[in-house]
């Protein structure tokens, strides 16, 4: 933990009341606070906590992180209650930028979603393409919902968006062919961890981000069945809140955070993160991989001015 700045309500009521969200007008000597809203799956990997300590030391800053579902995180951003957003849902990010709420999106990492399921793989999808696997699960699930099931996040999160994208790419109309199509398709409406647990309980398939899966691997019996496929790409980006919309958001340090993330040293840290714990990295650095991710180079490597 950081432990150096830990305001308790009794100890620093006035400070918190008068300078709740430090602004750019603060003198450089003063410790600034950066407020980040992040999607849960990213936060839960622990990557941000690992980066935060280093950043705080280097920039004489304090980083506060709020983790929430993608929708809620974007909501906080829209209202200008945070300085920086870190999410993984490009469609909605685009809308967010287009609406002028966000600026300076930078992609800093990526990894892949995986399809997990029971070890005995009742639908037999192992090593299929994601689209094929989904189609098979649907077919077998419709035929025998007792043995083949799919649990969906069902919460409009980034992961859920990705799931919908896969259905679409497999040629289905999500709301018509999938939702409410039978007992095989279970819309959980909860977080990733809970969804994995539910899938495990029901011996069902589900789509998961790699980080959450690895974190809960030893507590559940599900195994990864589909790990390859472009459509499974999971891109994490960072953007700062537009001060024109919300005067008062912390601009300087938000930029510094963005640049810190895409800096070569940090990219290296990202590449190595999780290896010691899981034996494999949780993220791939975005640097140098802009083509693979399918974005402009500037969005990956150009520091924010």
């Amino acid at each position: 933990g950081t432990g150096n700045v830990t305001p308790t309500p009794t100890a620093t009521p006035t400070e918190a009341a008068t300078t709740p969200l430090p602004t750019t007008t603060a003198t450089p000597a003063e410790t600034q606070t950066l407020l980040i809203a992040t999607t849960t799956s990213l936060y839960d990997t622990g990557l941000l906590d690992a980066l935060k300590a280093d950043f705080e030391k280097k920039y004489n800053a304090k980083v506060d992180i709020i983790s929430a579902g993608t929708g809620k995180a974007l909501g906080y951003g829209e209202n200008g209650d945070v300085d920086v957003m870190m999410v993984h849902d490009r469609t909605r990010e685009d809308a967010f930028l287009a609406a002028g709420y966000g600026l300076d999106r930078r992609v800093f990492a990526y990894n892949f979603f995986i399809v997990v399921g029971p070890a005995n793989d009742p639908a037999g999808i192992k090593n299929m393409t994601p689209e094929k696997a989904f189609t098979t699960i649907r077919e077998k699930g419709l035929a025998d919902p007792a043995t083949v099931k799919f649990v969906s996040r069902g919460d409009d999160s980034g992961t859920h968006s990705k799931e919908k994208a896969i259905w679409k790419s497999a040629g289905f109309n999500y709301s018509k062919d999938i939702q409410k199509s039978g007992d095989w398709y279970i819309e959980a409406g909860t977080g990733m961890g809970a969804t994995l647990v539910m899938a495990d309980e029901k011996q069902a398939y589900t789509l998961s981000d790699i980080g959450t899966y690895l974190a809960s691997k030893d507590k559940i019996s599900l195994v990864p069945l589909v790990e390859e496929g472009d459509v499974l790409l999971n891109v994490y980006s960072v953007m700062r809140i537009n001060p024109a919309k919300h005067p008062g958001v912390n601009v300087t340090i938000a930029k510094e955070w963005t640049n810190y993330l895409i800096s070569p040293e940090t990219q290296k840290t990202i590449a190595e993160f999780g290896v010691d714990k899981y034996g494999e990295p949780l993220f791939y650095p975005a640097a140098g991989n802009w083509e693979k991710i399918g974005v402009n180079q500037s969005e990956v490597e150009e520091p924010v001015a």
């Binding site: 974007l74 919460d155 819309e187 409406g189 909860t190």
Partner: protein, 228 residues
């Protein structure tokens, strides 16, 4: 504040159009929480009376513990129950995880301490002379209970109202044990929670208004019954 107005408008809209999804989750909320409250009442009132009207060593400690359980977080209740009901858990054979039955169980467990504690408080407010009078008139144990509860009915119904309120408004256990499965275990609070995580504030508020609406109806019915 626009959201609040949006929420009210949406609530009105959902109600007048009898939106089937909303009807369903409202009905489930009501069914689950009412059942949990009724069962909890049937346990808590005799249990509370047994504690209040008997002297035994450890009585004070027991009351203390019951009051402490007021602070039991719903997530913890959900977790513990999950560990019991999971496939590999001691009660896994029941196969009721992620069903309304399990949610009833969770809510019931959650509100039992509150209802028992408030029953004790309510009954302790009944005058000793009333208690003596009931006994003296030749009451059996059950008749004693009935009459003393009747005398404390205002406070006991307050406890029931509170238990119901806590049950229908809790979300932690409902989501863990029920799973917030669309069309099956989604209740008002889990739906609100979902909507909020999706930042559909208007819908959240609309569902909140509906939740308060049914709470109002339940309370009114109980109050009318009480005044009969």
């Amino acid at each position: 504040m626009g959201f609040i107005i949006d929420g009210i408008l949406e609530a009105v809209h959902l109600i007048v159009t009898l939106d089937p999804d909303v009807m369903e989750i409202t009905a489930l909320s009501l069914a689950v929480s009412l059942t949990a409250t009724v069962i909890a009442t049937l346990i808590a009132v005799p249990f509370g009376a047994a504690i209040q009207f008997n002297d035994f060593p450890g009585k004070k400690v027991l009351i203390q513990v019951i009051q402490t359980l007021y602070s039991l977080p719903t997530v913890i209740v959900g977790l513990l129950l999950f560990l019991l009901l999971t496939r590999h858990g001691p009660l896994g054979f029941l196969g009721i995880l992620f069903t309304p039955q399990a949610m009833i169980l969770a809510q019931m467990i959650l509100i039992l301490p509150i209802m028992t504690g408030l029953t004790i408080t309510a009954l302790s407010g009944v005058d000793a002379t009333i208690r003596d009078t009931i006994l003296s008139l030749g009451a059996t144990r059950l008749q004693f209970l009935r009459h003393v509860v009747r005398e404390a009915r205002f406070a006991i119904l307050g406890a029931v109202a509170l238990g119901f309120g806590r049950a229908i408004s809790e979300v932690g256990a409902a989501i863990l044990i029920g799973g917030n499965i669309y069309g099956r275990t989604r209740v008002l609070t889990t739906a609100i929670s979902l909507n909020t995580s999706q930042w559909n504030i208007g819908s959240s508020i609309a569902l909140g208004i509906i939740l308060l609406g049914i709470a109002l109806v339940v309370n009114t019915v109980v109050t009318i019954y009480q005044q009969r």
